[in-house]
Structure formats: C-alpha cells, structure tokens
Symmetry: C2
Subunit: 195 residues, 2 copies
Amino acid sequence: MHDQTTSERILESALHLFSTRGYVGATTKEIAKNAGIAEVTLFRHFESKKKLFETVLNSYTFLPDLKGLLPQVADKPYDEAMTIIAERFYDKLSVRKDMIRLVQAEVQRYPEKLMGTYHKFIHELWQTLASYFYELQRSGTIIKFDPEIGARAFLGMCFAYFSATELMLDRKPDKKTREETLKGFVNIFVRGTTA
Amino acid sequence: MHDQTTSERILESALHLFSTRGYVGATTKEIAKNAGIAEVTLFRHFESKKKLFETVLNSYTFLPDLKGLLPQVADKPYDEAMTIIAERFYDKLSVRKDMIRLVQAEVQRYPEKLMGTYHKFIHELWQTLASYFYELQRSGTIIKFDPEIGARAFLGMCFAYFSATELMLDRKPDKKTREETLKGFVNIFVRGTTA
DNA sequence: TTATTATGTAAGCACTCACTTACAAGCCAC
DNA sequence: GTGGCTTGTAAGTGAGTGCTTACATAATAA
C-alpha cells in the first residue's frame, strides 16, 4: 500500500505546506492530514514542529549541483554546452521549487542555519561554472573576464527567469517559449564572451 | 514631535514587520509597539489585520520604473547608458527591499492581488528597456535580437545579484565590489549585443 | 497465544492572537 | 469652560494551535 515510510510522507507533506504557507502559517494538523495520518502520529515521529522543520531543511537540497553536469558537456562546443547548462539548471530549479520557496520565505527567520547552507551551495555553483570559464579562457576559446562574475551573470539571468515564471507568476511557460528564451540568453552571453 | 500621521507610522511599521516575519508571523501587538502606539489605536485606524495588510500593499510600490530614467541616458553611449541603468536599477531595488521581500513571501497567500500588480510592474519594466533596445536596433547600434528577451536577460542578472546579496545573504556588498560586478555584467551584455 | 509496535480516536490543556468594550485623559475649537 | 476628537490603559472574549494523555485496534514477532 505505502511504498514510503510514515516519516517520509510527513516530511514530504511538511515541505510542501511550509513552502506554500510558511513556517507559522502551516499547521501540524494540516501537515498530518495532507500526509494521510493522524496529527498525534506526527508528534510520535517528530518531537516538535520546530524539529520537524529542521529535519525538512536537512533532508532536501535546494540548489542543483553543476559538478555532475560539467564533465558531460566539457567536450561540446561552447554555445552548445552553455545551452545544456542553462536548460538543466532551469530544470533542476523547477524540480526543487518548493524548497527554494521555503528558503526564500524563511531565510529571515532562521538566518544561521539557512544562510549557512545557502551560502555554501551557491558559492559552489558559481565556482563550478567559473572553473569551466577559466579553462576556456586558458584554451583561448573565450575572452578574459572575471570568471566568477561571468558565472553570476549567466546563472543569474537563468534564475531570475525561473523565479519570475515559476515562483512568482506560478505558471510554467510552455516548453518552446522556455527554450527560446534560454537560447536567447545563451546567444547574448556567448557572443559577449567568445574570443 | 511627529511629522508623520499615526496611520503612516502604522503602515511603515506594518510593512517592515510583514516583510521580515511574514503576514501570519507579524502580530498586531508588535506592529503597534514598533509604531509607538497602543494596539487598540491600530484597530481604530484599520478595521482588521487583513485590511491593514491590503493597505500596505496598495501604499508602496516594489519595483522601480525605468521610464523616468531612460530619457536621461538616451543620448549617452550604449555601454555608459547600460551601466547607469544597472546601477540605478540595483539602487532602487535596494531601497524597496522590504516590499520585495513581502511580495516574494506572500505571493502564495494573496495570488490574485499580488500577482496582478507584480505582473503589471514587471511587464512594464521589460517593455521599457525593450523599447530602448528596439530604438538602438533601428539605428544599427546593436544587433537584432528579441528586445524583450534581452531586457529580461539584463534585468535578470541585476536582480539575481541584488537578491543573492541583499535578500538572501543580507549583507550589502561594499560600493566598489558592487560597481565592479555590475560593470562586469554590463561588459558581457554590451559586447554580446553591440553591432 | 502473548507481547510488542505502530497507528487511530477523542478529549483536553495552556497559550497566543486578532479584536472588542469600557473608561479615563489630553488637546483643540468655539 | 464645554464638547468633540484622538489616544491610552485595562480587561476580556473566542477561536485557533502546538502538544499531551488515555485508551482502543490491528498487525507482527516470539
């Protein structure tokens, strides 16, 4: 009947409700109901709402890692590689939509914990793409510029596009529109950086 | 003693607390205390917390308008104009930080109202910058590309930079770092679009 | 069978929060 | 001064909300 454990179902339900209603706005009763269990069962698995929230934070990541992606595109032409990066980055953000919303909404309330992991992840993202740029600069494929600023620029426009469409307006653009927009971003960026 | 009216003080306090604690997390008691008035006075000015919230939403804008800025830079060289736009855009976002946080956090709760205004404002932003690009394309200064996608790309990287530094990490970068980063964005974008 | 474990139902407790009511005090116009 | 107008203090109400306790039920393991 259930292929997930009760704890997993609670965590999933909690992530979704925390992300849409916020920490204070999500009630334990509703989290339980959404998970298909009784409220008291929730407290048998997690000693308090606060602990449940912290477990959610530790159970899911909210940013994609590019590390696994880069080796796959390293030997492709520059513009093709950047297109793949843009689309995969957007896809992975999309899958983690709930978690991203949660972090954005609660970063004010839990600065130590959230900002710590946020900082770590985002820094790694930039560094990874920056190191790719650095290689291309050494091989003379692209011009010299601060690789980290370049990485921020590129990931920034992709993130802002994701944020505007899926986080704020909350309607996914159709595949074609999305591909054309990202391709437009890539074209400008690639033209602006190719040697 | 007070150069603002009581209602204005309440609205200001409410904006700040709604934006940092969220709608549910901000209590009327704390809003009143922060405004330096008694809680009951708050309810004499606003019939409910919900009405107060809606009044806050209607009292402040959260996105800068570029319309006033463009005429001032229209006759400057392209790269110089874009630098000014980037910096002013960032500045104005920075001033409206509270309101932006509020919109991001509560867009899930008040989709009709917030998404309506959000959509309207951001669309106008894009359109304004896009029309500037369109002019430059006609005069042959920059290459042909979808002006709206270009506008989204440029404003997107600026917004993402603002969001990462001031909304999430919550520490303003020093002026020099900020200027260098934005200049780096502009360089890539301008090189990528100049004819 | 018997004991253990995971879950459900039901009731309730302590607390907070939005909001109200009643009354007093200061201020300003006339 | 008198009468409005605004604000403050104090007390309270009713509806959640996190969390607990007590007891029953079903499945599983010994």
